[in-house]
């Protein structure tokens, strides 16, 4: 097991003198891309900082602990499972953490900026704080755990696309903002707090569980399953009550199908409300 620690330097994260803080884009710092690299090689990996391409070593303090991964190319990818990347420092302007990652583990200690875990295919990301918008966007596989709150468009599609998350598992410890799981087609989302407006908007497949309250969940959904254990505010009138069932937790749930606004034929979504 190898642990790569990347601490964002204060002069990069600090908004000194009221200057707008320029975001760092960390999609080149995934375990699969760093596997097999030495400390010196990691420091040389290119990272976008605003519109400039910089070296990782110039933006982060880099330290590597444990055995180095071996081999290159295919072999390195295989050893990515043995790599853990730990981000530290003020990460609130670090975007695309774990974007496109295939394997291994990422731990982000603090609040992270947008697109964390976007296009993720495998491995695990743990955010020990809040994640800004678009976390898990178009995620295909792997596991994303956000201990705090998630911003809007959690696991949604990119603007204009018609497919959001297709696989993997996401857990949000706190609340999720609006449009969680928009155009979701597969995978699972568990929101332990409340969901903002329109969770599961245009949902086609997969499963969303909301332990708190939700507002207008499942609008325009044509497939998939949403379970709300708290209150539903402004439930879409275009959902039809089918039956009352007992859920896995032993609680009583009302089962609705919808969204009938998408025509009777397409309304294959299921909404359970406790």
């Amino acid at each position: 097991m190898q642990t790569i620690k990347l601490r964002l330097k204060d002069e990069v994260s600090g908004g000194v003198g009221g200057v707008a803080r320029v975001p760092v884009e960390a999609d080149s710092l995934t375990p699969d891309k760093l596997a097999g690299k030495s400390e010196a090689e990691i420091k040389a990996v290119k990272v976008w900082w605003g519109n400039r391409e910089e070296k990782t070593g110039d933006l982060f303090e880099v330290s590597v602990e444990g055995e180095e991964g071996e081999g290159e190319g295919e072999e390195a990818a295989a050893s990515a499972d043995e790599v853990k990347v730990v981000f530290e420092g003020d990460l609130s302007r670090v975007k695309h953490i774990g974007d496109g990652m295939k394997a291994g583990e990422i731990e982000a200690n603090g609040d992270v900026d947008m697109h964390c875990g976007a296009m993720m295919q495998g491995g695990k990301i743990t955010v020990r704080g809040n994640a800004d918008c678009w976390a898990g966007r178009e995620m295909k596989g792997g596991e994303l755990v956000i201990e705090g709150d998630a911003g809007a468009n959690l696991c949604a599609m990119y603007r204009g696309e018609m497919t959001g998350m297709t696989g993997g598992k996401v857990v949000v410890g706190g609340n999720a903002d609006e449009c969680a799981g928009q155009y979701m087609a597969g995978g699972e989302i568990l929101i332990k707090g409340n969901a903002g407006m329109l969770a599961g908007l245009n949902m086609q497949g997969g499963k969303i569980t909301i332990e708190g309250d939700a507002v207008m969940p499942g609008a325009d959904m044509t497939g998939g399953e949403i379970t709300v254990k708290g209150k539903v505010l402004d439930r879409m009138p275009s959902f039809r009550l089918v039956e009352t069932t007992v859920g896995e937790d032993g609680g009583e749930y009302k089962k609705y199908i919808g969204d009938l606004a998408m025509t009777e034929r397409k309304a294959k979504g299921v909404l359970f409300v406790k």
Partner: protein, 574 residues
Amino acid sequence: MAEGGVSKMAEGELLIKNGVVFDPINGVKGEKKEICIRDGKVVAELKSPNVKVIDAEGRVVMPGGVDIHSHIAGGKVNSGRLFRPEDGRKGVAVRTKVCRVQSGYSVPNTFATGYRYAKMGYTFVMEAAMPPLAARHTHEELVDIPILDNAALPLIDNNWMTMDYVKTGDTDLLAAYVAWIMKATKGFGVKIVNPGGTEAWGWGKNCGLTDAVPTFDVTPAEIIKGLAEANERFEMPHSIHVHTNMLGHPGNFEVTKATYDLVKGVKTAKDRQVIHTTHTQFHSYGGTNWGDFVSKADAISDYINQNEHATIDIGSVILGDTTTMTADGPMEYSLHQLTGRKWTNHDVELETGSGITPFLYSGKVSVHTIQWAIGQELALLVKDPWKVALTTDHPNAGPFIGYPILISMLMSKKRRDEAAEEMHSAIFKRAALPSIDREYDLNEIAIITRGMTAKALGLHEHGKGHLGVGADADVAIYDISPEERDAGKIQKAFLNTKYTIKGGEVVVKDGEVVATPAGKTYFVTPECDEGLTEEMLVKLKDKFEHYYSVNFNNYPVQDAYVPNPYEIKASWSG
């Protein structure tokens, strides 16, 4: 402004030696010959002994490509970009020392448009639909497109002035209006898109060729004939450029043929076609509905083969996702109804309109497969390549970046057969493509991508589409030998040139853009009798006073919007 600032011809001398040249306008069919370039023009011989030399080493050399019909600038192209962020994310490339940031696939940004065309060896592109009211915007975008020389065709057919004059039969006054529009918009020629149909769309309707346009009491047939005659009042370099009625409707091939017949007797002011019909693939449909839909490319090709007054471009389909956009508003609405995908619509007061919707051409869908076949059938069944141009009606049937695929298909029966095997079986029952053996050679490819297009646009008289002495030094050097038969290698070579030379300057080398000079904008100034113009202006000013939301004096595009002008005067021919 495109990087590089003002357009200028590269100074100095350049020699391209050992290339195998295909220059169909000058009858050069794959001869090893030198091309001498001085100050941006092709010359007979060079003076200086120490000129810069490009050794083409037996590679294929052609004049710069000339695209006769593409949507690259203006209101609806930009709306397409805005409304398809998911297309924008494809083809993203960061800024380099030479190139600005690129994005998009079917609706690339202005920079990517210039770079990608140049990499394919194209140096001139015609923007095929400019709403006169949006001419300023169109020119602003043309200026922003690097490298390419360009021009734009103003839409004049669904225009209230035009329909009024067609109704009263005042062809001379209509000609005066056409002349005024060309000057006011810095336009190149007369564009006709679903004549009458787009105006009818304002009332929720569409028009067949002989249906009366609501409230105007004229028919599309009368509009087409009237504009064809008005166009020939001047020595216009280009004929009328027509998107015929009922685009995309099964059975519309009869409408297309009837449209050709309408203008058969019209006498031209120059030695060229009377009518150019564009994206003819969309207009060569048989059957009565999508269930019995068949290719009628054979019927259209027969007509073109038997008549001399009409030319076509194919508007061939590239499989995959694209963005359809046209001034044919009702057609876009029908398409949106068919797919359920997002749609936007726009009305241009008194003049035209437009619609946009994304579309996915799939080789697994019978209708798309037949459409895919029709475009190529047209190119293969029209015997004389001087009557047919290679286009995809970018981006309607597919993005221009698909041209190299089409070239490889036309050149290889084997490639077509392999592709057909992977597609819906309808291609074997309801299209002719699998039974066609013809293969294009490089000379014919040069004709349909530069020679024919330059001639049909009248640009061969202005140094485009050929490499004769005095021509613009726009040259494409493709990294294949003239004997190459491998379709994959042909496609690759036509996607990224070894060299593209524009106005004597190397702009692409080894498939990379190395310089981005600004292109020139070509426009036509018809010279109209002052008395006629005065009489026409009385009516036009009345239209502005009562109906337009802009002032007459604020309407014409100022010279400042065309910083690199190339004016072509068209004298009155009566």
